[in-house]
């Protein structure tokens, strides 16, 4: 019933005009291994022209049903994703993993029964504390794309080191650094590593909730973890699975070093945000944009640790 009505509406829209199409997400799964597909997000900021669909998503076919890695920014996106995924695999969705608290990855979970949505305990706690703020921000940025999307909490806290779906084993990895709790997922059949936002590829990393030492430690762990290709949170798939990890670490190290030096050189935040970005990052999408966001996130803390105290205790 719903399918036919949706198909009919889609048909009408394609006959009618552009405005109706603009309100639809285009979801195109691309096979990246045996029974695993990716849906690429736009390598852009969250904007109304992309409807917030900027995070990479994976669809995994298992004997027990379909597993989703991430579910997108909105109810509308996640409903469309569910339909595409179930048509692709011919099986109902039995599990949705949300990698961390950021809304481009998980706000769409409102489209699913919370009992099948799994996230790290730290992610659920962070959503309780900050989720509504992110939801408000998404509505402000995206308007109608978000209609009907409420903040819903994942119903399953990930406590096990492995989940078996009728013989296809997935290994959740509890890490942190991009946020207070970051999930990565290893598909043992293909060796595909789903990095979440711990790993970016040719798209500048975002740092609104970053803790850089923890992030570096997580990257080190992923580096030594035996795996095949790697699907980053944003940007194209990394076939060998190592370059994107190295690039993410390289960016974070450069960023922290450059901003530290900027504080030492007496630069203000606006000036720091206009510092040159090294040529080796020239291929990175939205590098300047993310660098200026990172100045906002990291600079006050660096100033507080690097600028000396100069106040004079008032005379008695």
């Amino acid at each position: 019933m719903i399918l036919s009505r949706r198909a009919m509406l889609g048909g009408m829209a394609s006959l009618a005009a552009a405005p109706a199409r603009a309100a639809d997400y285009v979801i195109t799964p691309v096979a990246i291994g045996d029974g695993i597909w990716m849906v690429r997000g736009a390598d852009e900021p969250i904007e109304s022209r992309n409807g917030g669909a900027i995070a990479n998503i994976a669809i995994i076919a298992t004997p027990a049903g379909t597993v989703l890695w991430e579910c997108g920014p909105s109810l509308r996106y996640a409903r469309a994703l569910r339909q595409v995924a179930e048509q692709l695999t011919g099986a109902r969705i039995v599990r949705v993993y949300v990698s961390h608290l950021h809304p481009d990855h998980g706000m769409g979970l409102a489209a699913f029964d919370p009992a099948i949505v799994a996230a790290l305990p730290g992610t659920i706690a962070a959503l309780v504390a900050q989720g509504q703020g992110y939801a408000d921000g998404m509505y402000r940025l995206l308007g109608d794309w978000m209609r009907g999307t409420d903040l819903i909490l994942p119903g399953r806290a990930i406590m096990t080191a492995q989940e078996d779906f009728g013989g296809r084993a997935l290994r959740p990895l509890a890490l942190s650094g991009h946020s207070s709790a970051d999930l990565a997922l290893l598909d043992e059949r293909t060796g595909m590593l789903l990095g979440g936002d711990l790993v970016f590829n040719d798209r500048a990393p975002s740092t609104p909730t970053a803790v850089l030492p923890a992030w570096r430690a997580s990257l080190d762990q992923l580096q030594v973890l035996p795996h095949g290709a790697l699907l980053p949170g944003h940007g194209p798939i990394d076939p060998a699975g190592i370059a994107a990890i190295a690039q993410t670490g390289d960016w974070l190290n450069w960023l922290e070093g450059a901003l530290t030096q900027a504080v030492r050189d007496g630069l203000d935040m606006v000036e720091a945000g206009n510092l040159p970005i090294p040529d080796r990052f020239a291929r990175m999408a939205v590098a300047r944009y993310e660098m200026q966001r990172s100045v906002s996130h990291l600079y006050p803390g660096l100033e507080a640790s690097l600028l000396p105290r100069i106040d004079i205790k008032s005379a008695p």
């Binding site: 030492r264 050189d265 007496g266 630069l267 100033e303 000396p308 100069i310």
Partner: protein
């Protein structure tokens, strides 16, 4: 034929100064508050828009509680006063700075309560105001959300902490950076009265005033301010500030030892 033309010119000359003073020029940013702010701030002084007043800020207002802005009017001679203004903020003026012996340059961070024009207005010795700026898109609530230190409850533990440093510049001036721990309460948050730094001055070792400013609560919590003063970096610069409760703040600037290169640009 000649006489009416001449009369007309004379009439124009008589009328022009009066009308220019009364009506500010049309706002290139189309702000709904421009005329009201211009009347209040500039009164009968002449006003024009001038891109030599360089107002810089990031491409995105990532944090509406702390949006960095630089006003740089070093391309203009004879600047005696600089105002940082966000038209649609409930507290529109953030800083009113008099660079007595300092370059016409100031950098700080402000709160944004909604999408708003952010402007720099500089006044010349002649009384003329030159204005520039741009629209900034921002989420609401920068002025009406409680400061982080109020939420954490530790603001009083750190009140009075001042950090800063001074860097020698190639042209003989010095770059001064200051940051204060202060909640900068706007009075727009329930049950928290207005409480903010309201005055700041920098003097050299000979007590010569280099620059002073009035500050309002639309400057971010824990205000950070960058100035370029006409004094050697080792000239024993001192800072004095006062908040709206009458608390005094004093600091002595130390020469930066951290950077071998002058932080000047």
């Amino acid at each position: 034929m000649r006489r009416p033309t001449r009369l007309w010119v004379v009439l124009m000359l008589m009328l022009a100064p009066a009308s220019a003073a009364a009506i500010p020029p049309a706002d290139p940013l189309g702000s709904p508050m421009w005329s009201a702010h211009a009347r209040t701030l500039f009164g009968d002084d002449p006003v024009r828009f001038d891109p030599r007043v360089i107002v810089s800020f990031p491409m995105i207002a990532e944090n509406q509680r702390a949006f960095p802005v630089v006003i740089d009017a070093r391309g203009i001679v004879g600047v005696r006063r600089m105002i940082l203004l966000a038209d649609l903020n409930p507290i529109p003026v953030a800083i009113d700075y008099r660079p007595a012996h300092a370059a016409p340059y100031i950098a700080t961070r402000i709160k944004l309560d909604q999408r708003t024009p952010v402007r720099g207005a500089v006044q010349l010795d002649s009384g003329q105001w030159l204005v520039s700026g741009g629209w900034v898109d921002a989420a609401g609530g920068g002025c009406s959300a409680p400061p982080v230190s109020r939420v954490k409850g530790d603001w009083a533990d750190h009140l009075g902490e001042i950090r800063g440093e001074v860097w020698p510049m190639a042209n003989g001036q010095s770059r001064v950076r200051l940051s204060f721990r202060h909640p900068m309460d706007t009075g727009l948050v329930e049950n928290i009265a207005t409480y903010h730094l309201e005055a700041l001055s920098v003097v050299d070792g000979a007590d010569r005033l280099l620059g002073d400013m009035d500050i309002w609560a639309s400057v971010s919590e824990d205000p950070a301010i960058t100035l370029l003063v006409d004094s050697a970096a080792d000239a024993a610069l001192r800072v004095a500030a006062r908040d709206t409760n009458g608390r005094d703040y004093r600091a002595a600037l130390t020469l930066a030892r951290q950077s071998p290169i002058p932080g000047g640009r």
